[in-house]
Symmetry: C2
Subunit: 418 residues, 2 copies
């Protein structure tokens, strides 16, 4: 598929993250308008609430853009998703007969403030990257017991906290928590000293289900993808996670990028999961290429300083796809809901510079990394700005993910002062 041309000139560059091929969905506001749904095209955003009110978009089952979130469109199902994309390709394509009307509904991205693009129903985080799981397992249990016995047979996941999900640009307050170092006799309550990022992709479930779903059904249920940073307090996690898993270590915040990249936009970039050590059970066995070839990058900028790229990797490094995670999630009959967010798990590659968390990059703090500024990092410091970015590279076009960033604020001096 080549670059598709739009009458919005800034979209017609091979390196624009938002060409007509992409059409990512977000929620924006301006100095003059309340939050509303929009689609990014080049350096602009098309106001979809205005388009719907003007009769330029009509999906046939009542308004879907009268609310500042994408859940109403999601709930109309995959056919409506396809109809909307086709209509947007028509409206925004070169030669559109509606160009002059649409020009009045365009907002520059530089004038817009982005909001959470959808209401998060529930949030589940997985642990489906083999390199990450192996690295973490080696640090905690030694190389021979790195992967738990179940890991190669099912995508391990745990329920996270939907209320903690925030949009890129939100500041992240260093948490307090109960900590106990290996040499401490008793735990203490203190700010986390090992606050970390996790580079992930988030899959957004777009339709409800009420029983086990097949892998193909699961794939059809996915509406789109965002970048996701699962902020993690490693010292809180170390003390709390046995036996029931991470809890407060992961509950401070989870940042997502503001633009939902649709499955349709990513279709040309599908690729296979890696070779399996064990054949998966039939209900989890790949039915086709289920991952995507998406280049990913993490930069860390100390306060007031230039950013350093601390990791480069690719989503194709995952062992389990989002569809496999969703199919597994439903096996017990667990009802799934439009707006559920599934974190992929940390995406690390096999090489040291491909690791998606400081825990791995600094090997638990034993091998601090050096930034371009000459500073070193084992874990995050106050004032650090972390930015995740991602793009799928097509033949003459790019499918960009909007950046996912957040700046670390110092812990509250007294969390209970009122």
């Amino acid at each position: 598929m080549p670059l598709l041309h739009s009458w919005v000139a800034s979209a017609n560059h091979g390196d624009s993250p938002f060409p007509l091929n992409n059409l990512p969905y977000g929620v924006f506001s301006t100095a003059h308008s309340d939050p509303r749904c929009g689609v990014a095209i080049g350096q602009m955003i098309l106001d979809l609430q205005a388009c719907e009110e003007a009769g330029l978009i009509d999906l046939g089952a009542g308004p879907v853009f009268d609310v500042p979130f994408w859940n109403e469109l999601m709930e109309q199902g995959p056919e409506a998703w396809g109809d909307l994309r086709n209509r947007l390709l028509e409206l925004l394509g070169q030669g559109s007969t509606d160009q002059s009307r649409l020009e009045g509904f365009m907002v520059a991205q530089s004038d817009a403030c982005m909001h959470l693009p959808f209401l998060v129903s529930e949030y589940t985080d997985f642990y489906a990257g083999r390199h990450h799981a192996t690295n973490v397992g080696t640090m905690f249990r030694g190389a021979e017991n790195a992967l738990p016995p179940n890991w190669l047979h099912l995508p391990i996941g745990y329920n996270g906290r939907a209320s903690s999900v925030v949009v890129s640009g939100s500041d992240i307050r260093r948490p307090w928590g109960q900590l106990k170092g290996p040499d401490d006799t008793l735990p203490r309550f203190a700010p986390s000293a090992c606050f970390d990022l996790e580079l992930e992709l988030g899959a957004i479930v777009g339709t409800d289900s009420f029983g086990p779903v097949t892998l193909d059904e699961a794939d059809q249920m996915i509406f789109g993808y965002v970048l996701l940073n699962d902020w993690s307090a490693r010292d809180i996690q170390a003390w709390e996670y046995q036996p029931l898993g991470p809890f407060q270590a992961k509950a401070t915040a989870t940042s997502i990028s503001p633009w939902i990249i649709t499955k349709a936009a990513l279709e040309p970039f599908r690729c296979d999961t890696p070779a399996r050590d064990f054949e998966l059970l039939p209900h989890l066995r790949d039915t086709g290429p289920m991952l995507y070839d998406i280049d990913l990058e993490v930069t860390l900028a100390p306060q007031g300083k230039v950013g350093s790229t601390i990791a480069r990797t690719n989503y194709r490094e995952m062992y389990y796809s989002s569809a496999q995670q969703l199919a597994h999630h439903s096996t017990s009959g667990c009802p799934m809901t439009a707006g559920d967010l599934l974190g992929s798990g940390t995406i690390s590659g096999p090489e040291k510079h491909q690791r998606g968390a400081l825990l791995e990059l600094s090997w638990g703090g034993k091998e601090p990394i050096t930034l371009d500024t000459g500073e070193s990092r084992s874990f995050l410091e106050d004032g650090d700005t972390l930015t995740l970015s991602g793009a799928a590279q097509g033949d003459g076009f790019t499918i960009g993910f909007g950046d996912c960033s957040g700046t670390i604020l110092p812990a509250l001096k007294d969390p209970y002062a009122r």
Copy 2:
């Protein structure tokens, strides 16, 4: 506090679960009406939507009973909760001047169908009963390592799945899952053979918070309590739970009783948490009596047969109160939301007959229990009906919880047949 008298005669018995002292909140429908909020009194339900529409209840900030769930009242905060209770005591008390108008807004409980009383925002399940944690730990890790090192310092919890919460009376379908026995070389996908109940109390968070809350703030945030059965597939759990905790084992369903027992109704039954092995950190340290003296019971009735009481215990057996769980839940800055449901964890007493799960009662299946019918049980069988019941016994009155029951349906023959 003595029995408070109502003009509803069936409420004026010492053994009525719903005297004027109780006033529990539910959502009901009848053959003639859609679901709506109501309060139980004796054998009747007062239709609060009708009362509000008739101007008999006006909390001052717009309608709260125009929706079939209690979240709108919750969001008005503790002062409104108190105002409503005072108004109901007035309306339903002996000598009420509104009796004749209210008689038209009464429905017999026997004519009503009960629904989920509130929209569950997120669901968290704790593991805060010492006897349960010790029993389970002993079975899995031996008596010397029964309690994990963190257990006596913080209330261990994990995020559950809000979409799985159903009201009492909903049938429970035995789940499929990935299982691997100790002698199997590879896992298989099959119906759970070790499906179990967990007797818990659920605390309902009634107001939002956005940062760490103190123990007293947490207690003020709790709207009320329900009985909760955290259905658990022990064989799925055994294979999946390391290292990130229970996931599909707990996602099939979580049943709650239909009536929210308010904190105000339980106030006379407050009691202390047990003696501590370690003093808790200041933010978790008891500020007063934080548990409640509530007698609890589990009955199991095989299909078409009489039920046997399989466990009797009391909520005062818990090591951590719901307020301590909520305070811990917020330590990392995790935003809490009105409608969050917090499961207490399985409530077991020190004696064998006081254990709140078959896993403990049958000691992992090694010591099956015998029912009054002569049948034995290690775990649940298809057709079994499980009923949790609870009551706080006052001086001449009872604060009853509505029963929480569910019947086990056989697993689907093929979960992917369409």
